[in-house]
């Protein structure tokens, strides 16, 4: 029984390690910000998720008590990861994409990030 439990935990850890590595490697390997955005999602969901599963398994099977802290961590991850991703994507669209290069916005004329009245004569800092 202990062996099976340890095996299970080890598998979870290995899975998380692999996905953590893949996520980090992707951050370096991919060269376009929008593609690069996909890489850390692997690390945050499956990578961290694996560690959390391993932790739950460890406390339930080996220590004999139910630990729910991990579920809270999952909750916070699920809350924050998409928002982070959303903001990075919005930043990219805002600063590095022209409205004409983007896919059609459907009913609306522009994507929300671009749909704003600009103050005239904004100084150009984009060179920095």
């Amino acid at each position: 029984m202990t062996f099976i439990a340890e095996l299970l935990i080890a598998i979870f850890l290995i899975v998380s390690g692999i996905f953590g590595f893949v996520g980090s490697f992707g951050m370096i390997k991919l060269n376009d910000p929008m593609s690069r955005l996909h890489a850390p999602t692997k690390a945050t969901t499956l990578g961290v998720g694996g560690v959390l599963l391993a932790s739950i398994t460890h406390s339930v099977l080996l220590e004999g008590k139910l630990s729910l802290h991990e579920l809270l961590i999952t909750l916070f991850l699920f809350l924050t990861a998409p928002i982070t991703a959303l903001f990075i994507a919005k930043w990219h669209i805002h600063r590095h994409e022209l409205p004409s290069d983007l896919p059609d916005a459907g009913e609306d004329e522009l994507w929300a990030t671009h749909a704003v009245e600009q103050v005239e004569d904004v100084p150009d800092h984009s060179a920095n």
Binding site: T80, L86, K90, V119
Partner: protein, 956 residues
């Protein structure tokens, strides 16, 4: 009544006029009057013992280590002055009620007046020279408020500033003198000092102490060459002038000289400094007074002259001269207060104080005429009024005085001064009341209501009664006071009566009176001569000196403090390195007593991150956003390190502080250029780099050396660990230190934090009320604006997070006493919970839904903490002693309560309020019109597609 209470009553009572003014002017005046009356009654209770010659004392050790004791004593001298201060104060309160107009803030006036009165009573009752100095400076401050009472008049403000500058700097000199005196004797208690005449006069420091103390006394009593502030202080309302310049403020210097008389007087230095100054002042004041056209200026210079007279008498150093001085203090207070009030009445009723525009008022204002004439004739020194008696004694004394072997100098000059004094007194009467009635008064003069003339009338009755029957009326008082002044020695023979036979003094009086009349007759001619003479204008000289001093200090400040932050930093760092090197090269270092631990992989990773981020900051520091991110990395690693080294409290605090500061810094970055410009030369950068590297390596070496050795002294950690649970009722030592062991420090810190936040708020307010506001409104953003700045996803997530974050805050707060957490961290966490709402839906949207003000939050926090601390007093324990116990409410487990928890609530509120107020202030810089949003998020699908029912209706 205890002397403490007599001195404290005016201060306590000062609150009431300010509050009661809402109930009307009579209420404010009665409150002030009642307070003064109570203090006066308290004083009068002591008459029997004072008259027996006893000294009433009240002692209380305030700061014994400094020798500063709140000791009060009441002897004859103190009694006389306190009596003058309180009685004339009472009359002034009555007079001011009718004098001040409806537009003047009367509550403020009485509050200032009572503060001043309290300070004066404090001076005359102090039995400790340090305490006396405290009250002395308080009179300077409160008289500043009184003189500048009419804030709208530039004269009033300038006069107040001049009075404060002169008397305040004299006060500083006096502090030094008093400290020297205290060091000579070895005690700061007056009663001890007064016993040590021989010791003091034999000391080599006698002369410096004398000069410094006299500087204080001379500036306060407007003696030459510091006399110039007094006439300028006349810009104050007349009740203030009457009070300050007849009985109180200017008499404080005389009081001090009389008080110190037993130990300081009797030497040549004393005689030549004090008597000569007095003589010059007396003559100068009398001459100038004759040629002043402003009624109050005339009285001001006559006051200067009379103060000089008393100073001269004290300077003679003989006992009989001291009797004359004391007698003249009483007489001067009575007739001069009456004269000032008369001048005030004339000003009030005719609308002018210019002697050139007055005259012939005797039929129009008969009561005022009677009062003014009697008082003025007393000032001129005519029998049978009280002024005659003391002037006679003064002249008698001058006859017996030789100045540098000259028998005639002092009496001659005194006679001349008396002559001018008679002349200006006669001028007061003749140019205001006598002469032909005029048609061109600014208003129609008539006698004022009884409230206005009652006070001077009472004083004039005293003037006459003291003159007619001085031996019975004030004889015993003078005997007691004089024996206090001369230090309890045997009184000399003197007699207080009008007729002494044909003495030199009588002849001098006759000459002075006749000469005065003669001078008045020649006044027109004299005035022409006087106006043709070149005269130094004191105000111009004073302002030139002040200007020069201001320029000098501005120059010093600008040179030393030129605003280049990097220069301050380099001076500080280089100096510290130098000090460290000095300590290292001259001191010894103990042997290493510890073995270094093997380096483990996790700390090494942390170390690499730290060093990498620091190097990164150096490299990229011109890009402000990037360096902020790197600073964030450093902060996170530090908090992880705290956790790794078993300091979870610090880790929690660090991480929450980190989040809050990052957000605040990001907000301020919004208003700064994105790049730091290059503004120093390469050579300077290399120099700075070299100094920084040396400082860094030195600090590292120091830390290494410390960590390799045991502490040189036993630490107090053991005590905290041992007593944390036993004494503070908590197992989290860090928290118990914060709220119990060092609770007072924490209390101070939350106050400072609150002040800092309020200052940020105040700075924002003041900046936004200048033209910076228009600059901000016209500001161009650094980057093109982004749409959808309040995305739905963020808004929803923060709404979900809000209760969770608050719950975490509560959890951290409640566990704080026993486990990592506490009010400080909880405050930061709740602040972050609010911050998230600001970020998600925008400042304007969030602040409109805010139900409480952060100022109040800070205030409540400090108050709750203070109240918790005070609670310990009711259990007869020292401030901030905490208590704890256990409760068992059936459905819950047994839990602990501690008063420290309440204190922690205060900390929590103060931290929350301070953080939010700072954020709130910064956010207001970014405010633009039209920024307010109706909706919490920019895009809401619910708004785009109306409910189906409506669609159906539309279709139908």
């Amino acid at each position: 009544m205890s002397l403490f209470l007599i001195a404290a009553l005016p201060f306590l009572g000062a609150v009431f006029p300010a509050l009661l003014i809402r109930a009307g002017r009579n209420a404010a005046a009665s409150a002030a009057g009642l307070t003064t009356f109570l203090a006066l009654m308290g004083l009068l209770i002591h008459i029997p013992s004072v008259m027996r010659g006893d000294v009433v004392t009240a002692r209380f050790d305030w700061i014994p280590r400094l020798g500063l004791n709140a000791n009060f004593m009441l002897d004859g001298l103190g009694f006389l002055f306190a009596l003058l201060i309180l009685v004339i104060g009472l009359l002034i309160i009555l007079y001011a009620r009718f004098y001040l107009s409806r537009e003047d803030p009367m509550g403020q006036f009485y509050t200032y007046l009572l503060l001043f009165q309290g300070a004066m009573v404090g001076i005359v009752l102090s039995d400790n020279i340090l305490l006396l100095i405290v009250f002395w400076e308080l009179t300077s401050l409160s008289s500043f408020l009184l003189i500048g009472y009419w804030k709208h008049l530039p004269d009033g403000r300038q006069g107040a500033r001049m009075a404060l500058a002169v008397t305040g700097s004299g006060g500083l000199a006096m502090i030094a003198g008093m400290l020297i005196l205290g060091n000579i004797v070895g005690s700061y208690d007056l009663s001890v000092i007064l016993q040590n005449k021989a010791l003091i006069q034999a000391s080599p420091y006698y002369l410096p102490a004398l000069i410094l103390i006299l500087l204080g006394a001379f500036t306060k009593s407007a003696q030459f060459p510091f006399h110039f502030w007094l006439p300028h202080a006349m810009a104050a309302p007349t009740p203030v002038s009457a009070y300050l310049h007849s009985a109180t403020m200017v008499k404080a210097g005389l009081f001090l000289m009389a008080r110190m008389w037993p130990v300081l007087a009797g030497t040549d230095a004393w005689f030549y400094i004090v008597a000569t100054t007095g003589l010059i002042t007396m003559l100068l004041g009398a001459v100038i007074a004759l040629f002043k056209d402003d009624l109050k200026a005339l009285l001001a210079f006559s006051t200067v002259s009379h103060l000089g007279l008393i100073t001269m008498l004290l300077g003679f150093g003989t006992k009989i001269a001291a009797v004359a001085a004391i007698f003249h203090i009483i007489n001067h207070a009575t007739f001069k207060a009456a004269l000032f009030m008369t001048a005030g009445i004339v000003d009030h009723e005719t609308g002018t104080r210019n002697l050139k525009r007055l005259g012939g008022l005797r039929h129009l204002m008969p009561i005022t005429f009677t009062i003014g004439t009697i008082a003025a004739l007393s000032m001129a020194g005519l029998p049978p009024l009280n002024g005659f008696l003391s002037k006679e004694m003064m002249l008698e004394e001058t006859v017996h005085t030789t100045w540098l072997h000259s028998h005639y100098l002092v009496p001659g000059l005194a006679l001349l001064a008396a002559l001018f004094s008679a002349a200006y007194s006669f001028r007061f009467v003749s140019h205001v009341f006598l002469g032909a009635q005029r048609e061109d008064y600014p208003t129609h003069p008539h006698d004022p209501p009884v409230g206005l003339w009652l006070a001077p009338a009472l004083l004039v009755v005293l003037v006459v009664l003291i003159g007619l029957n001085s031996a019975a009326l004030v004889g015993p008082l003078i005997a007691v006071v004089t024996s206090a002044v001369i230090g309890g020695e045997k009184l000399p023979y003197y007699s207080l009566k009008l007729w002494h036979g044909f003495t030199p003094a009588l002849y001098m009086s006759v000459v002075a009176t006749l000469g005065g009349l003669f001078l008045l007759a020649l006044h027109k001619r004299g005035e022409q001569v006087w106006n043709a003479l070149p005269r130094p204008e004191a105000k111009v000289i004073f302002e030139a000196i002040i200007d020069a001093l201001t320029r000098l200090s501005r120059w010093i400040t600008d040179e030393m403090h030129n605003g280049v932050l990097s220069r301050y930093a380099i001076i500080f760092v280089a100096f510290t390195v130098g000090l460290g090197y000095y300590a290292y090269s001259t001191g010894t270092i103990g042997v290493e007593t510890r073995v270094p631990l093997p380096a483990q992989i996790i700390p090494i990773i942390g170390w690499i991150c730290l060093v990498g981020a620091t190097l990164g900051i150096m490299w990229f520091h011109r890009n402000r956003l990037l360096s902020l991110v790197l600073i964030g990395v450093v902060g996170l690693i530090v908090s992880v390190a705290f956790n790794y080294l078993s300091a979870p409290d610090l880790a929690l605090t660090q991480i929450s502080v980190e989040v809050v500061t990052m957000i605040l810094l990001l907000l301020s970055l919004n208003f700064l250029p994105t790049e730091t410009p290059w503004d120093s030369s390469a050579a300077r950068r290399w120099r700075d780099a070299a100094i920084s590297v040396i400082a860094g390596l030195g600090t590292g070496a120091l830390v290494y050396a410390m960590m390799m050795r045991d502490f040189a002294f036993p630490t107090i950690s053991e005590f905290h660990l041992a007593n944390s649970y036993k004494g503070g009722g908590g197992t989290n030592v860090v928290n118990v230190i914060l709220v119990d062991f060092r609770g007072f420090d924490t209390f101070g810190e939350i106050i400072v934090l609150g002040i800092a936040a309020l200052i940020i708020f105040a700075l924002t307010e003041s900046v936004l009320s200048t033209n910076v506001r228009s600059y901000l409104l016209n500001r161009k953003p650094h980057w093109p604006q982004s749409g959808d700045s309040h995305p739905l996803m963020m808004v929803v997530a923060t709404r979900v997070m809000m209760p969770i974050a608050l719950m975490v805050g509560a959890y951290i707060f409640f566990r704080g006493h026993n486990q990592p957490g506490g009010g400080f961290i909880a405050g930061l966490i709740v602040a972050i919970a609010y911050l998230m709402q600001y970020m998600a839906s925008g400042y304007t949207w969030a602040i409109e839904r805010q139900r409480f003000y952060y100022h109040g939050t800070i205030g409540w926090g400090v108050l709750i903490a203070a109240a918790t601390g005070l609670g310990a007093w009711f259990n007869e324990r020292p401030f901030l002693t905490s208590d704890f116990g256990y409760l068992h409410w059936p459905p819950l487990e047994e839990f602990e309560w501690a008063t420290a928890m309440l204190f922690d609530t205060g900390v929590f509120l103060a931290v929350l309020g301070a953080v939010m107020l700072a954020l709130d202030s910064l956010s207001r810089f970014a405010w633009q019109p039209g920024m307010a949003q109706e909706f919490p998020m920019d895009i809401n699908p619910l708004r785009d597609s109306p409910p189906e029912q409506e669609q159906e209706k539309e279709q139908a």
